[in-house]
Amino acid sequence: MKSALRSLIDESVTIIREVAAEFERPAMLFSGGKDSVVMLHLAVRAFSPSRVPFPVMHIDTGHNFAEVIEFRDRTVRALDVQLIVGSVQASIDAGRMQDATGPRASRNPLQTVTLLDSIKEHKFDAVFGGARRDEERARAKERVYSHRDAFGQWDPKTQRPELWGIYNGRHKPGEHFRIFPISNWTELDIWQFVADYNIDLPSIYYAHRREVFRRDNMWMAVSPFMKPEEGETVSEELVRFRTVGDATCTAAIESSATTIEQVIAETSVARITERGATRADDRISEAGMEDRKKLGYF
């Protein structure tokens, strides 16, 4: 009998190899978040004992959890892959855009400019992303091979048909594809893989004590980029992160899960989705993600 996790791995590995075979210059987005970590480990397994035949790229907002950057550098060294960093700060310094300002400023949307500039600079024609369809309703609609026009835009109304396991990556110069090899994985599948394959993750995925304050019904971590406003009080709580993104828009959840097994137990009874529990950026509007994706976001 086919195990569900094994058939997900087979599908993802096949997609990663297909892209390596068909595109001139692929790159894999790597943020240090659990999905991109799992995706990178799948890439390592897809080409073993060869090295992964493409670089990984981190779009760095400069607003990071310190543990994650340390983890990122340690991981690319351990897995022997080349790291490219696209810096939002550098894009701001170069006048490509203005920094987000105001008390609740987040650089999350600014990443799109840096991402598209980096894709152009390195002439990447395929960029792997670790998005999962179970995360969000616009992502639930996206193809594995997702075409981007010369402006990096996604058009949900003209997606190409995608049948069987045959993918069509044909594109004009200047266009590119986003590739989502773990489209069909759920949050629980990710954790099952982490458990079965003993995958190292940033420590903030496990319960720890941290200074936080309450905002929009979520626990936000105190950091140099994230300070409480008037009336928001700081306390130390036992928390962990379910997703890891830009520190200004990723919230922690109350949790005492310190081991993978405890996290799996917690995830299997969760009553709130991962993004619903942790992402300030998705609360903007009914179609926040769709709108950002149309402009070229991850």
Binding site: K2, R45, A46, F47, R137, A140, Q159, L163, G276, E290
Partner: protein
């Protein structure tokens, strides 16, 4: 745990998205924030009840128009099985998105509105599901609440469907009377239809027998990628990576490489889990051989005494999916078949299928958007293939328009008619 991939199909507004919403809701697979979100949207629009179709109809344009435009994928699990759902659009304009969602399905749920019965789109989708070789079918006669849960309505639609479907190649068909809106026979048995003795939809999905659906006989391994590490610690490693398209490969097996016809023996099988002794259909592995042969992407490994067909002149059923340009005879398209790229042209449309009565129309010179026909295809190099009914991987291909880049057609290879 085993995984079942199913798709919901059928005409526009017959209740596909609502059914998925109901299935997720009643099996407690909806998260609180998702429910709060669709409750808020329903309320804002002034609906009388929570519109469960909003769970999958997530795009702006879909919510504006109240229809599904593109396939949405959803995931849930019960203690028995895990499921991938593809909620397909019913509108004819988005048929290619429906094909996208159904092409990989193990099972299709065809929804029929109890008030209207079998309509043209029901027939079109059933035909496509049959051509795509989806092994299991469930016909859900939906909106039974609007016909007083009348057994006669159900029986009449079943007869109607059966008389149409007798001309299709459908192997396993089950009929269910349901109400997606009210939940009858979706997860729990309906008190409104005591006359129905079959199982609920969820029970059926959990128990449908799929183990014999894979082709485990005819060994087919399209080579996808050659792994040849340039590293000091593995100087002689040369592996052929790919996904098993059929049969079982074992260490020690004799194999033949196509097109060269050279033979060798499997000395090792590597996988994402490390070395294995055998590889099954669907598994992504790397094959190691005893001899140093010249093998590249697009080649195929098989058993010397069980080879696929090889030809440059093929017959196929073609579903035309490009809304910008119809099929032109003798125009050159890119053919993508397994891991192989070729170029090809259609020299002849043998017939086009009239969807409403399955009549074969001849003397046809083109296929337009959403039309289905049997064609002769010539390729620049031989394809190694099986009849689609024997193997959904080696029997399928797509045509790509070389100027627009569009995926213009989906093709299913068939044995030439004698």
């Amino acid at each position: 745990m085993e995984r079942l991939h199913f798709a919901t199909v059928g005409s526009v507004d017959d209740g596909k998205s609502t059914l998925i919403g109901r299935l997720l809701y009643d099996s407690k697979s909806i998260f609180e924030d998702q429910l709060e979100h669709i409750e808020a949207v329903s309320k804002r629009r002034g609906d009388d009840y929570v519109d469960l179709s909003l769970l999958t109809d997530g795009l702006r344009a879909e919510r504006e128009q109240g229809i599904t435009i593109d396939v949405a994928y959803r995931y849930f699990a019960t203690p028995k099985r895990s499921f991938i759902i593809a909620d397909c659009p019913g509108h004819i304009q988005y048929t290619r998105n429906m094909i996208t969602g159904a092409s990989n399905a193990d099972l299709a749920i065809v929804l029929v509105d109890a008030r209207t019965g079998v309509v043209e789109q029901t027939r079109r989708h059933s035909l496509l599901v049959s051509l795509l070789g989806v092994p299991h079918l469930v016909i859900c006669v939906n909106k039974m609440d609007l016909v007083d849960y009348d057994v006669d309505v159900f029986n009449k639609i079943r007869d109607e469907f059966e008389s149409f479907a007798s001309r299709l190649d459908l192997r396993d068909v089950t009929f269910l009377p349901i109400s997606a809106l009210a939940g009858d026979n979706v997860v729990s048995r309906s008190a409104n239809m005591p006359w129905f003795e079959g199982s609920t939809l969820l029970h059926h999905l959990e128990n449908v027998y799929t183990a014999s659906d894979d082709n485990r006989i005819d060994t087919r391994f399209p080579v996808q990628y050659v792994i040849r590490p340039q590293r000091a610690d593995t100087p002689d490693y040369r592996g052929y990576a790919g996904r098993v398209a059929g049969g079982v490969l074992r260490v020690g097996d004799d194999i033949m490489v196509l097109p060269s016809g050279l033979t060798s023996t499997i000395t090792g099988i590597d996988s994402p889990d490390g070395p294995m002794t055998q590889a099954e259909p669907g598994q992504a592995v790397t094959i190691l051989l005893a001899d140093d042969l010249s093998i590249t992407r697009g080649d195929m490994l098989c058993r010397p005494n069980n080879r696929p067909r090889a030809s440059q002149e093929l017959e196929a059923m073609l579903c035309w999916m490009d809304d910008a340009a119809p099929l032109q005879l003798d125009k050159i398209y890119t053919v993508k078949h397994t891991t192989k790229l070729a170029r090809g042209k259609v020299s002849n449309v043998l017939y086009r299928l009239d969807i409403s009565n399955l009549h074969r129309e001849t003397e046809i010179k083109e296929l337009k958007f959403n039309e289905i026909g049997r064609v002769t295809l010539h390729t620049t190099s031989p394809l190694f293939f099986d009849d689609y009914h024997q193997n959904r991987t080696t029997g399928s291909f797509i045509l790509v328009d070389e100027s627009s880049g569009q995926t213009a057609a989906a093709g299913m290879l068939l044995s030439p008619r004698s």
